[in-house]
Symmetry: C2
């Protein structure tokens, strides 16, 4: 069992090569260039051979999508490792900046993962990026006093969904080893996390797709201003941020 046969190792290796080559083509020449024949050509094999690994082009693309998510999560984890344990605000900032940077550096991967209508509501715990996002949210929840909107501003029709989401959040966070008491995650806070994601995503997507209604020469600053507002609105202080004197 711990003895993968030679065949199995070879298979796993070419499988990795296929997906790697697919991504190289995606990055360098765009999504329409990632074709089975091109991939096979680069690998020195023929196109039908790929059907031993994936049932169709769509199937391959799907797996590539998952790889991309995993890589993004790995990137963010690396960034995060450099931030000391307790400084949760810096962790939040780091992950947001890391997400933006990754999106700008990998626009084609970004739009493949975050801007294709395909796919039902994604299971956040399956998506590694979701995992890391929620894990940071968990750390914030424990160590910082948040100022969420009072629960009664949330309309009744949303409560059930938010309850479910809260359960998801708690489960996902518990899985990462962090311990979150139930009462710290109010419905209002849950709603706030959603809003956080909406604004972060909107900003990054608009920047990647170039759909800001104006020419922005310094998008970096624009993002930082938005991020500062976002953090302030979430009730996180700047107290841990060294770049800010009182």
């Amino acid at each position: 069992m711990s003895e993968p046969t030679r065949r199995e190792r070879a298979r796993a290796a070419t499988d990795r090569e296929i997906r790697q080559q697919a991504r190289t083509l995606l990055i360098n020449e765009g999504p329409e260039a990632v074709t089975l024949r091109a991939i096979a050509r680069q690998l020195g094999i023929t196109a039908p051979a790929l059907y031993r690994y994936y049932s169709s082009r769509e199937d391959l693309v799907h797996h590539v999508r998952m790889d991309i998510c995993a890589d993004l999560a790995a990137d963010l984890t690396t960034d995060l490792a450099e931030i000391p344990e307790g400084e949760t605000v810096r962790q939040v900032l780091t992950i947001c900046r890391g997400f933006r940077r990754w999106a700008l550096d990998h626009p084609r991967e970004f739009s493949m993962v975050f801007a294709t209508p395909q796919g039902g509501p994604d299971d956040l715990s399956a998506d590694p990026f979701g995992r890391i996002f929620l894990s940071v949210a968990g750390q914030v929840l424990i160590t910082k006093q948040l100022t969420p909107p009072p629960d009664d501003t949330v309309p009744p029709a949303m409560r059930a969904d938010l309850e479910d989401f809260r359960a998801d959040l708690l489960a996902t966070i518990a899985q990462t080893g962090v311990d979150v008491p139930d009462d710290i995650l109010s419905i209002g806070t849950t709603y706030m996390i959603l809003q956080f994601w909406v604004r972060l995503y909107g900003q990054v997507a608009l920047e990647v797709f170039g759909h800001f209604p104006m020419l922005i020469s310094n998008t970096e600053d624009f993002f930082e201003v938005m991020l500062a507002e976002l953090v302030a609105d979430a009730g996180l202080g700047w107290d841990e941020e060294p770049n800010r004197s009182p």
Copy 2:
């Protein structure tokens, strides 16, 4: 000159049919189904004939994109026509709801126009959707007292861009016939309009792409809550909204 020859009228007619057929294919079978041969087949002609109208498939797709924008703008204009002149808050709500509804009803058109990395910074005055968005913004600016962030919260590095954008805004609004005194459009207000667009776009795109981190059974309510917050943050009151008793 006012006498379009029979040839010219025929040409314009088939041109419309081509783009119409392309959109039908896009809506019913997705972007990869909009192929020159399929379009020609539906029209009862052969594929090379399309090259009399467009220099390439990409060229056709580009024009289809413009058509989609024009249709969206027309939709929103129709919605807007039913709102009395003075009730600017309702106009804002109408246009935001209309944008969301259109995006959900036409997900493939939406992602083609609003979620493709292609294209540099788009000229908002060329895009008819941008026109209508800005025209409403203009009406709001004249008739409502806004509470924008004070100008000095805007970092210096962004000021130049915002100045340019403000000029664009004023020019676009002036083109619609609405008269806006220069001083009403502060830098802070300009920044606020940008933020408004970021949050609206983020919410709608996430809903269309199904990338909310939770299952939302009632997305309608979620949108309405976000919209209410958005309007409140923009400093617009609910005073004109009849569904809200004091």
